[in-house]
């Protein structure tokens, strides 16, 4: 009924004593997430909202058996935090931090190649399995348990989409923001593979944007291997080339990454593409009713 996170998820918040970390720890606790530990080096003696704080991820694992990390540490230290969690053997690492240098992420990606840890993000809202747990910063109340999966490169745009789904009565199995940076830990395809195996997920909403070729690669994968309905939306049709549209990864460069190419690839793979964001909820409903 969900992938990667559910009721059994035990979260450690890295950077829990910071402003963002503390705020969202409370939000996650309110949603019902089991936040079992926090980590802030040098502050391993206090509590945040009743959550014990440790100096290292290793200690949090040993004392609290956490298996998922949620990272709020500032950009200069975020790569260290990710690698720390991976070295400590966590199953899933959700990195919210925006603004990590690209070459730091190159390092992280290299390190993760032969590790079991899955990384979501960075520069992402996180992951939520509605009604079970949320690991991230998305507003909980707009979600509703159900059978639609959402994978997105964006934050608020995802909330908009989820809200439309919920409004039209379509609940969600798991929603994942994979992040808006050029180098991210896990891609559309990584999660599509998981949703393929998840019996409760009946369809997927894929939200892309300009920059890179992740949507084209996802289209190839879906055409060849994916067996559930996919509805896509691509942001940035009106974006000019050469400019970074907010997200570090959202840039059309060297003729690559245009919204129209992505839409073309998705359509060619037989995927329904909603061209207007306002229509997305209705489009999804239509496709799912037909299938």
């Amino acid at each position: 009924m969900s992938i990667l996170v559910d009721e059994s998820t035990r979260v450690v918040v890295q950077g829990i004593t910071g402003r963002e970390g503390a705020f969202h720890t409370k939000q996650m606790l309110d949603y019902g997430t089991v936040v079992a530990a926090g980590v802030t080096p040098g502050k391993g003696d206090r509590e945040v909202d009743g959550v014990p704080v440790f100096n290292t991820v290793k200690q949090a694992v040993e004392a609290q058996g956490v298996n998922v990390s949620c990272i709020f540490v500032p950009p200069p230290f975020a790569a260290d935090a990710i690698i720390d969690s991976a070295a400590a053997g966590l199953d899933l690492i959700v990195c919210i931090t925006e603004g990590i240098p690209v070459l730091d992420m190159v390092k992280v990606a290299g390190f993760l190649k032969n590790k079991k840890s899955v990384l979501i993000g960075p520069n992402c809202p996180g992951i939520i399995s509605p009604g079970k747990t949320k690991v991230g910063i998305m507003p909980g109340p707009i979600h509703k348990p159900g059978t639609m999966a959402v994978i997105s490169r964006s934050g608020t745009l995802t909330y908009e989409v989820v809200d439309q789904l919920t409004e039209t009565g379509l609940g969600q199995s798991t929603c994942i923001g994979i992040g808006g940076d050029p180098i991210i830990g896990s891609t559309f395809i990584d999660h599509l593979k998981r949703f393929k195996e998840d019996p409760e997920t009946e369809g997927v909403v894929l939200i892309g944007e300009i920059g890179g070729t992740a949507e084209e690669e996802a289209a190839d994968y879906i055409r060849e291997e994916f067996n559930k309905p996919v509805i896509a939306f691509i942001a940035g049709q009106a974006a000019p080339p050469g400019r970074r549209m907010g997200h570090a990864g959202a840039i059309i460069s060297g003729g690559q990454g245009k919204a129209e190419d992505k839409i073309k690839a998705l359509l060619a793979a037989g995927i329904t593409v909603a061209l207007n964001l306002g229509d997305l909820g209705a489009t999804v409903q239509e496709v799912m009713e037909k299938s």
Partner: protein, 389 residues
Amino acid sequence: MKLHEYQAKDIFGKSGIPIPNGQVVTAVDQVNRATQIISGPPWVVKAQVHAGGRGKGGGVKVVHYPYEVVTATESLLGKHLVTPQTGPEGVIVNQVLIEEGVEISHEYYLSMVVDRTTACPTMIFSQAGGMEIEEVAASSSELILKEHIDPAVGWMMHNARNLLYSQVPPPPFGALRALMSVMANVYKIFMTLDCTLLEINPLVLTKDLKVFALDAKVTIDDNALFRQKELLLLDDPREKDPLELMAEKYHLNYIRLDGNIGAMVNGAGLAMATMDVIKMAGAEPANFLDVGGGASEDMITKGVEIILKDRRVKAILINIFGGILRCDILAKGVVAAAKKNRIRVPLIVRLEGTNVKEGREILKNSELEFLVAKDLGEAASLVSKQVSS
């Protein structure tokens, strides 16, 4: 952050990548001295602007007499240069680079970027130098060779050999060492200075097998500037749009575009999608503005002000899906902006998410005139109406 050609070449020279002798001038009276120092004829006079396509815009001149160096410089310095990558108004040339001419026997293309799919720094090499690489990619992609570098082991000689010996025919034996050294240095600079792009086009070979970087494009990762403090000194704010500069100061993500509908949104993806909505409605967005997840009331106020400063703006669409950014904060910021500035254009507001009720209340109770859109579809049709009216 983009570097100027002369700044990038300065880094190249210090790192062991051969560059032609050159001198930057910021005033015409510096030209004669520069011409005396730099051997010629010929001399090359190059406008120093961040915009690409400079050659096509007349920003590069090859001259053969000292007095021509002066006239070429005069024709550029302080003038507006229009290239395929600037708007029709062009950009002002504040610096000119005067260089010795180099006799070219072959032109290569060499660049480094981070490849998204493999997450590896990747060197791109082509014997079709001097052309726009996009054009080569479109017409003869087999001429473009790529070598992914595993950052765990760094640049190795076999990477260079794979690129060089795949050329048909390979570069002359006597030039291989110099080319390999340039490649190794490109990798080193790229990694040390947190580049997102380092491009040498053309990288030329002279008849006596010397190698020179004739042009240089370097972009630094903005996210890494915290550890590249010296590079910050190379920032040239004159190259930026004044409104974008102002937005930067307030940590707002603002990009000026060519349309007439201003937009203020939270979140980059939603901001792009909002631009798309505006375009679908038959209008053109005047800007991209993401106020971010953690925007304060003051940032919202500044955002509205910046949009208003753009005289082309005929209407403003505010589209907020409250998550971390609460709708009441947004509303307060907008109201504050309206108090300080006369909002001279129609304002369309669409609020949703956290504290939406409080937000709508605040707007309603203010003296602000605005149109409410309850969803994106309605926002689009309101925009459309503004344009056609």
